[in-house]
Subunit: 251 residues, 2 copies
DNA sequence: CCTGTGGAATGATATGTATCAAGTCAGCGT
DNA sequence: ACGCTGACTTGATACATATCATTCCACAGG
């Protein structure tokens, strides 16, 4: 049942993609990351054969900051956080990774060591594609290269926006923004309100870029204002409009 | 004499590059951005013919946030700042661009509008390469694609590091870091101490991500501590070691 | 049952930084 | 020379946020 969900996701992403679809992906005979659907069929098959899938438990580290990369990882199912460990040991969460995403490509492409640590936020099923194969296919497959560049550009855009907000917006606005971001990334549960990830307050703080206590305090305020509801690690977004307003977005 | 300097720079960057050199670049019959030296010869010639060079005066805008991109820009000579204009109008400088760099590729590759404004920090000579040509060469030239991915990955790495520092480091450390960054990017004048860009205090503040007054105050402190010397917009780095220490770097 | 443990919450306090306000200075046009 | 303008500087103050300390609570293990 794990990969049934994954299939649906992959197909969804294909439908929404702007570039040419790859028919092989629609078979979806195995769990697979959507990025490779941009690749040509023969290459897709090669990847399909070479990839190694495995399951990581919640809290488990997939790769570690400072280590050398030997390939890229594709998420079939699950949720991962990518984080820097700051100079003083405090963690800064850089990115949230979801099913259909890939990770670890940055270090590979710039030929450096990992600059972030990937940790499973819940039990996750992840494929590993070896470096040599990935690079050699990238060499000959322009569609895949384009897709990679598109992803990189888009990540860079987001990162730069985050820099601006971090420098200019107060914590309150950034927290509201982060709640919306989590919702965009991982979506809501069936009730249409509850965020479908369980993050600790500390993790939320490390995502926002603030102290844990500040995050807690502001979440309580949001609750008092009727914007959200809190129940342990469950966060329910009650008044989306109000949250958007608090986030003070305009891009 | 303008392009003599540029040639030197290009050659330098070729020598340092890890991928295959392109002999065409060594002729350097015209000013040219070093990135394209990774391209295959025939493509290089095509670009060389299609590109349009022009000179921008200090303060002039090369492209504007929100506009649609029609190609990429390569800097032959000069200095450019790329900046977001935050929601409240305050500017956040995202990147400093120097001779040999390219800019405007992010918007092109992700097929979106510019998210930043490019402004000349001094009179600059810049080439424009049309979108269609650039994209079509990217399609068939894997070396160029790889180089683009390498650049994107590296920018992303820097951006993520900046996010972490912005979230975790005090202004004092970030300012010291910024001074070192400016030195790395644009280098020093012949005396071996003076930064070779003239930035206003406001621009420095927008690079650090702080208020102008804070930047001014801290610069004065640095001066009092004998780390730097100030003379109008000239900034001389006297005690590099001390600045590094103040920046508190460890990556 | 007690007890230990880790996360969450709250309060008190300290402090870094932004903001507001004024003042200085150099350059520039008239 | 005059006043004007814009950038820089400095000071006083307010405020947001970090930090430290404490309490609360749920939960697991003995």
């Amino acid at each position: 049942m794990l990969w049934l969900r994954s299939c649906k996701l992959v197909l969804l992403q294909i439908d929404m993609g702007s570039t040419i679809q790859n028919p092989a992906c629609q078979h979806c005979k195995d769990r697979f990351s959507s990025i490779f659907c941009k690749a040509e069929q023969c290459n897709l098959e090669q990847i399909d054969q070479a990839k190694v899938c495995s399951v990581y438990k919640k809290g488990q580290v997939i790769f570690h900051e400072g280590a050398y990369p030997f390939g890229v990882y594709c998420i079939n199912d699950g949720k991962i956080k990518l984080s820097h460990s700051g100079d003083d040991g405090r963690e800064q969460i850089i990115r949230l990774v979801k099913a259909g995403d890939i990770m670890g490509y940055k270090a590979l492409l710039s030929n450096e060591r990992y600059t972030a640590t990937a940790t499973a936020l819940e039990d996750s099923s992840i494929c590993f594609v070896p470096k040599d194969l990935f690079m050699s296919i990238l060499q000959k497959d322009a569609s895949l290269s384009f897709e990679m560049m598109r992803i990189l550009s888009s990540e860079l855009r987001k990162a730069e926006l985050k820099i601006t907000h971090l420098a200019q917006k107060p914590v309150r606005e950034r927290l509201a923004e982060t709640l919306l971001f989590i919702k965009e990334t991982y979506g809501l549960e069936a009730d249409g309100h509850t965020l479908s990830v369980r993050l600790s307050r500390e993790e939320i703080a490390n995502l926002v870029g603030t102290a844990t206590e500040s995050a807690i305090r502001l979440l309580s305020e949001f609750k008092k204002d009727g914007m959200i509801e809190l129940e342990g690690k469950k966060i329910r977004l009650l008044d989306l409009q109000q949250i958007v307003k608090t986030a003070n977005l305009q891009d």
